[in-house]
Amino acid sequence: MASISVKNVVKQYADGFPAVNDISLDIGDGELMILVGPSGCGKSTLLRMIAGLEDITSGDLFIGGERANDKAPRDRNLAMVFQNYALYPHLSVYENIAFPLRLNGNFSDDEIRRKVEEAADTLELRDHLERKPSQLSGGQRQRVAMGRAIVRQAEAFLFDEPLSNLDAKLRGQMRTEISRLQRRLGITTVYVTHDQTEAMTLGDRVAVLRKGVLQQVASPRELYQRPVNLFVAGFIGSPPMNFVPAEIEGRKVSLPFVSFEVPQEVADQFGDRQLLIAGIRPEHFEDAALVDANDLSHSVSFSAHVDVTEWLGNELFAYIPFETSREIHDRLKTLARELDSESLRTQLVVALDAGSRIGPGEDAKLTFDASKMHFFDPVSGDNLTRELAAVAS
């Protein structure tokens, strides 16, 4: 087991396109680090550079304190689980798992048998050892790929979107399984995913990437509560954070549907900017009818026309369209494209208590907690109020 350290690493392709641009990252011994971002952000490239499958254009890679830039993949002693599993179709499950041990050459047949069976027991593959990969289900193949990784004493595990080929239900189960396995073995792990739920639930720390540039490395909690910029704020959370234009006049903040005053310390962060983008998470809204009047200390109340509602049993999503300036609209459109989503219209998504009786086409009275809002610079996208954001422990 070893720590992995990446220093100012750059990957530039022949056409000059930098897929990974000056990334530095320290992954501690036994830590589970998630690399997350929309497609094309360079997360897989970074993982493949750690694995040795991709050359490092410049910068340094250290594995267990040793510079590994020029080491061949097999000399780095890392185990990797591929997105499509890459099982050897001509070998049985047993031989697939035993493959790395046989290559090593230092194990007797008895030792190999013992180790393979141990791995198979961990992953509940005991009954399938003699079968070929083509006879297995997607989830079983995924477990064989994991078995091949855990059977040897690797320095670290590398996962390249290991769950993206599974259906939603199985993905949830395997996610827990991977988490349990990683904690039990205590092995350093780098896990690439584009799924923010996986990132939030699995990681000790999460690194968010965008166009080859590292945006923020933090615990899931910190990413959620104190995102550094619009991109991270929009990427983490489901449904995503609402972005609305905010016009500033001193302490007064005017949103398309309500105006209110912010504390002086917040207003100090705005500088002389007139127009900001305000971010409010859907779950920070509440149906005013369901809130005790005494709890409204931080809250801002407003009434809005609800367009569509979606009742999910545990909560209710309400959609509230609003108008915005062309400038902000274009900015949000660009952001949506970067986040792999499509914003057809500017609208608020509001997650309310399932007990709410608000229906589509109604005017609803809502409240939100202004202290949980974020304000972003519309040009740079920086979060101006990050330092002030409360971190609930």
Partner: protein, 274 residues
């Protein structure tokens, strides 16, 4: 509706079977007719006899030509498959300038009409001393079987997922181990297919065989069949020719039956998601 469709399929299949197999059965039947039984005006022999086979195997013309056929076909197959495997691997895996040119030239060569080559080759081989030698046939055969194998194999290699090799490297394999333990077993069906196609080309060829040979030193079976004679000038050699034809057909049938399963590549199934 569905059943009618099934009936038509069966009927079509039977028609094709009769069309394809009856000449083969006719040759078999002829080869077992001894002496003048050939003229018995019936499909099957009046008396079952191995006389023609005895004749055929005691003629030097046939035994030496059989040896030539086997030797020449095997050597040209082995050489072209060995070279094509390495070349196709490079074409499938590496990006180098002129890759498309190599493939299209290979295709152009494979399409080139053999007859137009025979005249010039005949003259050249006589001058260089390759006329009526094994090598004199192996070279023209390879010029056709090599491009053929190259195409078959490069298409096949492209189907093998790159990740297999990367996974092997991550598991601690050297590039050579990855090639030998992962790529070769996966490519085996493709190599067999290419080998069989190449072998058939060399085995069945008549144009080069008849034009570039003159004696038993290098003459393969298809050419030798034309030189068969009856026991007397009044007897037709049809029986002996049939027996010889059967003898050269059998290896082909055995090969196909033997490697049918390997040719039908189902091996890569389950390697990746699907």
């Amino acid at each position: 509706m569905k059943q009618r469709h099934g009936a038509w399929t069966v009927l079509g299949a039977i028609l094709i079977m009769v069309w394809a197999i009856s000449p083969v059965i006719w040759i078999f039947s002829l080869s077992f007719k001894a002496g003048d039984d050939i003229n018995n005006n019936r499909f099957w022999p009046t008396q079952f006899s191995l006389e023609n086979y005895d004749t055929v195997f005691s003629t030097a013309l046939f035994t030496s030509s059989l040896r030539n056929s086997i030797g020449i076909a095997l050597i040209s197959t082995l050489l072209s498959v060995a070279i094509a495997t390495v070349a196709a691997y490079a074409i499938a895996r590496l990006d180098f300038p002129g890759k498309r040119t190599v493939l299209s030239i290979a295709l152009a060569i494979a399409m080139f009409p053999a007859v137009s080559l025979v005249g010039p080759l005949f003259n050249t081989w006589r001058t260089v001393g390759l006329y009526d030698t094994w090598l004199g046939l192996i070279i023209p055969y390879m010029s056709f079987t090599l491009p053929l194998s190259l195409w078959t194999l490069s298409a096949f290699f492209k189907e093998i997922p790159w990740e297999m090799e990367e996974a092997a490297q991550m598991d601690g394999a050297t590039p050579w181990q990855a090639f030998r333990k992962v790529i070769v077993p996966l490519a085996a069906p493709g190599v067999f297919t290419a080998a069989i196609l190449a072998f058939f080309f060399a085995w069945n060829d008549f144009v080069f065989a008849i034009s570039l040979t003159s004696t038993n030193a290098a003459r393969p079976v298809p050419a030798a069949l034309a030189f068969f004679t009856g026991e007397s000038q009044f007897q037709q050699p049809a029986g002996a020719i049939s027996a010889a034809a059967v003898v050269v057909t059998i290896p082909v049938i055995i090969l196909v039956l033997l490697f049918q399963k390997r040719i039908v590549a189902g091996l890569t199934n389950g390697a990746v998601k699907g």
